[in-house]
């Protein structure tokens, strides 16, 4: 076990270097002038100034030298201040949002986590329940319906489904809203009346015992939750169903039935736990991708998370911001993948022995 974890930990720096190299390589496609924006807030007015910047920050040096400067920053010889350097938490300055990229992350990431938190439960429980139901009733009506659903579900583009939900539940019925919170809630938050313990709006509302705020947060999150669940159920149904079908054919299930156990016990206690391994893998990668920012869903519902920030920056061709966000999400993904792999090794001994 320790061996496995150490081996897995050693992989992390390699992945991180690889990811930063890919992202930095994309950055290098731009000319030195565009890249000088990484270090300065206001774009200089005359060309001489730009040349000075390029010299100062070594934007015309070799690839690896620049890569190192990008990672570690450049120390200004006059003031002794460090400029740039993602290792020191400086991801550059976003011109479209007129704030440092780090601040965007600080502001937006809790929202993404908030949404992920409330999506996990409906996504997993309904998907797995439906998959088990389908497998147990193989080739009967429930099964056929689940299979048709999983094909339609995987074909439905997220944004089309999201727009349809918006059309029905917001524009027509007016039950739920896009965005993050209503005006009166944002006044509460900015005036400090709502104490922010976690920066996750729904959790903070509960901790403050403000159930009206909680209800408002939910009314804004339900549509993206429905969309994300709907899209993920299709895959969960498929994976659970096929894994469950295979488990139901195992000898120990036959044994359990032969010794006279009730069918419910056989399914719930003998077959289902053993069928969950591939589902756990799926669940892990789904949760990780929820944390990495769901670009399309957040954009459709105007939900101010990391994904929406990336989409906005990309639409405005704000390269510094998107690359900063990419580094951040890449790191989050690598770390949460690590956690998922370690948890998985605890659940399935075959992984750590392999």
């Amino acid at each position: 076990m320790t061996n496995y974890i150490i081996r897995r930990l050693l992989l992390v720096p390699i992945l991180l270097i690889g990811v930063t190299l890919i992202i930095f390589g994309m950055l290098q496609l731009l000319g030195p002038v565009e890249r000088s924006a990484l270090y300065v807030r206001d774009f200089p007015k005359n060309e001489k100034q730009i040349d000075g910047l390029i010299k100062k920050y070594g934007l015309d040096k070799s690839f690896f030298e620049q890569y190192w400067r990008w990672l570690n920053g450049v120390i200004d010889p006059v003031t002794g201040k460090r400029d740039g350097g993602i290792l020191h938490g400086d991801f550059g300055y976003s011109r479209t949002a007129s704030q440092p990229v780090v601040d965007i992350v600080k502001e937006r990431f809790p929202n993404t986590v908030d949404l992920a938190l409330w999506t996990v439960y409906p996504m997993l429980s309904v998907g797995i329940w439906l998959g088990v139901k389908a497998a147990v009733n193989q080739n009967k009506f429930v099964d056929q319906a689940a299979r048709i659903y999983s094909i339609i579900g995987t074909s439905f583009p997220t944004f089309v489904f999201g727009l349809l939900i918006l059309m029905l539940l917001y524009a027509k019925a007016g039950w739920f809203y896009p965005g993050k919170m209503s005006d009166w809630v944002s006044k509460l938050v900015f005036s400090g009346q709502l104490k922010q313990y976690t920066h996750l709006l729904s959790i903070d509302a509960l901790l403050n015992l403000r159930f009206d705020v909680f209800w408002d947060a939910m009314r804004h999150m339900i549509m993206p939750i429905i969309t994300l669940s709907y899209i993920n159920w299709a895959t969960f149904v498929r994976v659970t169903r096929s894994s469950m079908l295979e488990t139901l054919r195992q000898d120990y299930v036959v044994t359990a039935r032969a010794k006279g156990l009730k069918e419910n016990d056989v399914i719930n206690h003998h077959a289902r736990p053993n069928a969950m391994l591939p589902v756990v893998t799926m669940a892990g990668s789904s949760i990780v991708s929820l944390l990495g920012g769901v670009v399309i869903t957040e954009t459709v519902f105007n939900y101010p998370g990391i994904g929406k920030a990336a989409a906005d920056a990309a639409a405005n061709l704000d390269v510094v911001t998107i690359l900063g966000l990419a580094i951040f999400t890449g790191t989050i993904l690598i770390l949460s993948n690590l956690i998922v792999d370690v948890i998985y090794a605890f659940i399935d001994p075959r992984v750590r022995l392999a």
């Binding site: 731009l30 089309v160 890449g330």
Partner: protein
């Protein structure tokens, strides 16, 4: 054994059991029994047949686009505009400016004398019907280009990794892992945003971005297929006869390993078109007014509060895109069963 002895006769029971009396068609002869089984799987289940019908309809629409929606102006891929008013117009409203020629099928099918906006207009009076019809061509174009390029990259990298093994294999597969860690849509979005200032707004930035982050799956599949094939006797024979590595790999191993990858890849067109539509929905890619399904859907983003009134901006292109993707998915689903290694040698 002479030629007439190979077919068992009615009175020879033993031979009848050992020899197949099944007729072997030219297709099976050309592609081999394994690949023939895969092709047969395409038309086996009702679901995959429905999928094939969907795909066929879209192919017909793409081919006959100039007849279905006669081009207006020089560039048929530009959706014709009926004026510049911001507000979308309902389906069936009359067409005033830039009216296209009336094709022969129009009067009998719609019962109208003059062109109307069959499926309404989006903001800026872009005709949705034109966008959907010509967008079919855009969809196939992007699908084919991205699939071809990703398969090419994947096959070259995957087969080199599998054939040479050792350090080369390790290096290539770790690079593949790193690319796989990154979220596809986000990276494609970012890369096309970086490319757009360099290449300008066109199909190119999203295409290049989707190719750059889309090859990894194929590299993995072809690698595992080659690993199982490279120990076969005919590879040993080729090596014994002194052939060079490159020739063995590309002339002897690859043709025997590539078929499943090609089938899977061709069904990947649905996913590619979905990704491309997502990128244009987010506002990346072609210039405004280019006939492409994602872009019509992106117009809907500005009318969120009144989507119940302007439902046609979402519903028509949305259904089109969904049916297109579903067609490929239905066939792909049947294919996955056939290509599943546990199913080999059955049916």
């Amino acid at each position: 054994m002479t030629e007439n002895n190979t077919n068992p006769t009615g009175d020879n029971r033993l031979l009848a059991e050992t020899h197949s009396t099944r007729k072997i068609g030219w297709l099976e002869r050309t592609v081999g029994p394994d690949n023939y089984r895969i092709l047969k799987g395409l038309v086996k289940t009702p679901a995959s047949i429905i999928g094939m019908i969907f795909i066929a309809i879209f192919i017909l629409v793409a081919i006959f686009a100039p007849v279905i929606a006669p081009p207006v102006g020089n560039d048929p891929y530009k959706m014709p505009r009926d004026g510049f008013v911001g507000e979308p117009k309902d389906p069936g409203s009359p067409w005033k400016k830039n009216v296209p020629e009336i094709p022969f099928w129009y009067k009998s099918l719609t019962g109208n004398e003059d062109w109307v906006h069959l499926l309404g207009t989006a903001q800026g009076q872009y005709d949705i019907f034109y966008g959907i019809v010509w967008g079919t061509r855009t969809a196939f174009k992007t699908g084919f280009i991205v699939v071809l390029a990703t398969v090419l990259i994947g096959v070259v990298l995957g087969s080199i990794a599998a054939y040479y093994g050792g350090g080369v294999d390790n290096l290539i597969m770790r690079v593949t892992d790193i690319f796989m860690t990154l979220p596809y849509i986000m990276m494609a979005l970012i890369f096309s945003a970086v490319l757009t200032p360099i290449l300008g707004r066109s199909l190119l930035p999203p295409l290049i971005a989707m190719i750059a982050f889309g090859w990894m799956g194929y590299a993995r599949i072809i690698r595992s297929d080659i690993l199982s094939i490279k120990e076969r006797d005919y590879v040993l024979a080729a090596r014994a006869s002194g052939l060079k590595n490159g020739r063995i790999l590309f002339k002897h191993i690859l043709p025997n390993a590539i078929f499943p990858t090609l089938v899977l890849a061709s069904l990947g067109i649905g996913d590619v078109v979905l990704g491309f539509a997502a990128l244009s929905f987010l506002g990346i890619g072609t210039e405004v007014g280019y006939a492409d399904w994602g872009q019509i859907l992106s117009f809907a983003r500005n009318w969120i509060t009144s989507l119940d009134k302007y439902w046609y901006i979402v519903v028509y292109p949305g259904i089109t895109l969904t049916l297109f993707v579903m067609g490929w998915n239905l066939v792909g689903d049947a294919m996955r069963d056939v290509l599943d290694p546990r199913m080999r040698g059955k049916g």
